[in-house]
Amino acid sequence: MGKLFAAVVFVITLISVAIFVMHTWWLPIDISTTGPAVDRQMNDTMIGTGILFLAGQLVLGVFVWGSSSRKSGRKIRIFPGGATPLVTAAIILVGLEILTLTFVGSKAWGAIYLTPPAANSLRVDVQAEQFAFYFRYPGPDGQFGGLHPDKIDDGSGNYFGLDPANDIAARDDIVVGSLVVPVNRPVELTLHSKDVGHSFYVRELRVQQDFVPGLDIPLHFTATQTGKFEIVCTQLCGLGHYNMKAYLEVMPEDQWEQWLKSQAGQ
């Protein structure tokens, strides 16, 4: 029975490792300039934790195999010095691994969060609310109108709380339900939430950032491939959370200019 259990442990371990090594369920394509660093970090983490997982499971299997034929009454051997040096060694080993990953990964993190957006970035304002995302472009004048939460009125399409009657800059602001950006141009988002916490997540951009009500949170990325990708809310925000999504459309620059013009016309 013990030997069978050991065999099951070996089989499960090898199949699990094979699934990861063969990239059976792997990350979707990466379409951002900061993505490769994130993927490298993910890869390093997978290799590090994978080796530990493999070693841990194999040792477990070996012990189970060996103990199954053990005659009762044999002396139990313990780790030299007892549990304390064992646990200390484990903490140091795991701690070193995590520290190393953090150190290596700080570069990937810094490229997204600690680097200012490029000066020629396209600025887009994002409003999250139960249960949709809305995106605002400054319009032909290049200026965003001010935000007045008391003016928010979903029924007339004023999701951001603009005041076009008194604020000329707000009159040509373009508000849409999809994030449409030109390829290879840096995009700088400012995330606002109307009600509760939400999250902006595009798998292909390798970017995930929470919305926090009351804060204007900056986030930037550059998409390197055209296509249509899903933006999903990954912070449980209420009844309709499952349904809270929008689309990121990455277009060639000229096509995007046309799109923007057609939106400004409305």
């Binding site: 139960q130 249960f131 007339s156 399409g157 339900g177 009844l239 349904n243």
Partner: protein, 239 residues
């Protein structure tokens, strides 16, 4: 002796008919018709992006527009509720319920008038869940989730009120329940016209209500089966 008998009979008949009048006002044959228009530049209605709800988006060949200031040819103003706000002798609610649909992630009709205590049936015709939330302040407030294929919500309002309606799932969905104390009302159509029928003779205040602009009233007196005209003009602003 005989003439006295007839007098008594006549009095009885008169009294009886008087009581009938008291119990149920006669359905008159007077009417008020007219047109609701605007002056000024109306705000541009915005296209609604439903791409996050593909089952709704595909029902619309061109994007649906917001409807808070819906206009038509000839400066017509749509979705204005014209109703008798004073002078109506009151009537019991009709047994026929009014119907409200959630279809293509829109409320149909955008503005739904009904009488106090009249049945209201709310259907979800979509392949997606809706969560209808009428924002009543005088009547009891509620919100109900309606997955696709759910039975209609059967309800009513017991006090007059103008109630904005929203969907807790689709923020662009927007409509109004107009609960009135009268059975004499109409909603202006695409051409801005309305027609209030069945008015008994009397002095009435006719009010026109629009969701974004202040309401307006006019006095109209109906004698016999007159057909009176009352037009309303709303001053609109581009922003």
């Amino acid at each position: 002796m005989r003439s006295r008998y007839f007098t008594a009979l006549a009095v009885a008949v008169l009294l009886g008919s008087g009581m009938l009048v008291f119990a149920k006002p006669p359905a008159g044959s007077g009417s008020i018709t007219g047109k609701v228009t605007y002056t000024g530049t109306p705000p541009k209605m915005k296209p609604i992006d439903m791409s996050k709800e593909p089952s709704c988006a595909k029902q619309h060949a061109t994007p649906v527009l917001t409807e808070n200031v819906a206009t038509g040819p000839g400066n017509a103003l749509q979705w204005v509720v014209v109703y008798i706000s004073a002078g109506d002798q009151g009537s019991t609610a009709p047994s026929q319920a009014v119907r409200y649909d959630q279809k293509g992630c829109q409320y149909l009709p955008h503005v739904l008038p009904m009488q106090v205590d009249q049945g209201l049936q709310i259907y979800n015709d979509d392949q997606t869940s809706h969560n209808i939330h009428p924002l009543s302040k005088i009547n009891a407030e509620w919100n109900k989730s309606q997955p696709p294929g759910s039975p209609a919500i059967d309800t009513k309002y017991d006090k007059p009120e103008f109630i904005p309606v929203k969907c807790n799932i689709h923020p662009w969905m927007h409509g109004y329940f107009i609960v009135l104390n009268t059975s004499h009302y109409a909603v202006s159509g695409e051409d801005g016209s309305f027609d209030i029928k069945g008015l008994p003779p009397g002095k009435y205040t006719v009010t026109a209500w629009q969701e974004q602009y202040p309401a307006q009233s006019q006095e109209v007196t109906i004698s016999g089966s007159e057909a009176k005209t009352a037009n309303f003009v709303f001053k609109v602003l581009p922003y």
